[in-house]
Assembly symmetry: C2
Homo-oligomer: 351 residues x 2
């Protein structure tokens, strides 16, 4: 149980450099479709297979990209669950994997998702705030694809997509933020309202379907039309910078005026994580958030950053089950989750 | 902060022998009044002073009893608070100490309370279930007092007391029980109803005024008339034995069928107690109860018994303030309570 191969985790999550920071990760997605095929929802199996084979051929012709293609129906539900929990496929694809495929780099930083909502989605994940570099990576791959395959692109509207909300750039740029101090000082609601007001979207830890109960938030662009990719990124990055400043200000205030409250919250979280024997997912995320806040504000000894990052994934159902090597009911998952965190927190202490 | 003189605590609380057990302590009280003086509520200062001087003379004439008399008005509010929290005086006497005095043995096992509700109350505290021996101790002292002083006693009714509910034997026998497993398995309500139904009283941790929110309960006799002291004790002891059996049965069931739930509860409690930086009284008692349950059921390493017993007192406001050597507001008390428990839990680990 103690030894997990580093390659089990996506590469962007396990970097041991830099600070923890308020921004956990950045995600760039470009939606693309083939000019001569129906959109996946309308396409029959033959057309879907065609789309799939074109990307398969592309990956074979571009081995330097190290994209390994896997059809989702060849994987079991837990393996697909892993991909969902890493933000690479949707929950719908976990349930109905037919004709859907994912081509990934070994570290899962770069991937192509085939036959989900669109024929093709270019996805780039990156640790911390990396909107500009992630966009560049995605654009390079888009250029390669565009030079070899005929993509549906309208002279006036730009790239055409299955859902009209993606037409134009096909870009969804999102940033996962950890905002515990704003949540503690109750500045969070006002801040989220402001973000929504200027046309950005806010989601919970698990994307579209999840509530905003936690202190982890994804902020992303809504608009894909009428702006260039660079403008969208610039706008989002500016907002993220402001949110981060607010969070940092809230942390300074906490440290200055409510240090005891902060130390209490962090100490309790660490105490429960090391002491409990059953742990639900939501509680786990809340407690890990408090520990993270404790380390970032220096009120507790630092734990190795990758260990804490990895735990955000490991506590989730599919990761837990993949790790345990068996399918588990909710109660057994709670026991495993508790044990896993306890052991890894011990491991994670900086020596 | 780490060193507290053992003599700070009442002797009955710090014995390091025997098991933890479900019964924490036993208390015997005999209410007595002088034949020729008005009851304290009706008496003027002169009569109250007379009552006081008679007991003072008695303690001087019986030095072998080692009763040291102190007038409550000579003590500060924190010192009186200590006596309240140890069950030796009422909250009313903390607020209005005039003419009230307490004569105690050095270990506070035996005491005489003067001019509270009655002229005299003989009080005996003992660790664990000790109804018979505590009654014997109280009766010996009662005999000594009765042989030298004229006590109000009616041929038919027995001893006369300020409140009619104490007439007869003047005896209140009570036992402090710790019933966490019954509380966890929800058998507690039914059990308490049954105890009330057979004519016994149930109170919370702090006596008459407190609610039954905790898992610490005092069970005592209601009836003082028409039965001998021995009959009252025998009845109470029988009920206590049954309650203890129910609690032990509930613990066996917990261990057998819900060990994980038990380990989770205990582990979380220990985690919070060692991690928190602010702790309220009620939460402290709940968490200490869980730790105690954990040790008694063997799911965690044992902590020295006196350390755990002492903490039940130390977490209370007057004890905290006496210990800190200063008066503190609620928030500061919470911080001290957390620190004190953390340090003493470290100390208390059996080597």
């Amino acid at each position: 149980m103690n030894r997990i191969s580093k390659s089990f985790f996506p590469q962007w999550l396990t970097k041991d450099q830099g600070d923890y920071g308020t921004v956990i990760s950045t995600r760039i997605r470009l939606a693309r479709n083939f000019q001569d095929l129906c959109f996946p929802q309308a396409a029959g199996p033959k057309e879907q297979e065609k789309a799939l084979q074109r990307i398969e051929a592309f990956t074979r012709q571009n081995v330097q990209l190290r994209l390994k293609l896997q059809r989702l129906q060849d994987q079991d539900e837990t393996q697909r669950g892993l991909l969902f929990e890493r933000g690479l496929i949707s929950m719908a694809s976990v349930q109905e994997p037919d004709k859907i495929a994912l081509a990934c780099t070994p570290g899962q930083n770069i991937s192509l998702l085939i036959n989900e909502e669109d024929h093709l989605r270019i996805q780039v994940m990156q640790e911390g705030e990396g909107l500009t570099t992630a966009l560049e990576t995605a654009q390079d791959l888009d250029d390669s694809l565009g030079s070899k395959l005929s993509l549906a692109c309208h002279r006036q509207f730009g790239f055409l997509t299955a859902c009209p909300t993606n037409v134009g750039t096909g870009l969804r740029a999102s940033v996962m933020l950890h905002l515990p101090a704003l949540a503690l000082t109750r500045g969070i609601v006002q801040m989220l309202k402001a973000v929504l007001h200027i046309g950005l979207a806010v989601r919970g830890f698990y994307g579209e379907e999840t509530e905003l109960r936690s202190v982890f938030f994804q902020i992303s662009n809504h608009m894909t039309l009428g702006r260039t990719e660079e403008e969208i990124i610039k706008h989002l990055a500016g907002v993220v910078r402001q949110v981060v400043e607010r969070e940092e200000e809230a942390r300074r205030i906490l440290l200055k005026e409510k240090r005891q409250l902060l130390e209490d919250k962090v100490g309790r979280a660490l105490g429960i994580l090391t002491g409990c024997r059953m742990l639900g997912l939501e509680e786990a995320l809340d407690l890990l958030s408090a520990v993270r806040l404790g380390m970032e504000t220096g009120v507790i000894e630092r734990i190795k950053k990758p260990v804490l990052n990895e735990m955000l994934l490991l506590v989730q159902p599919a990761h837990l089950q993949a790790f345990a090597g068996k399918s588990m009911k909710a109660e057994e998952q709670m026991a495993w989750r508790a044990e896993l965190i306890r052991k890894r927190l011990k491991l994670g202490k900086k020596s």
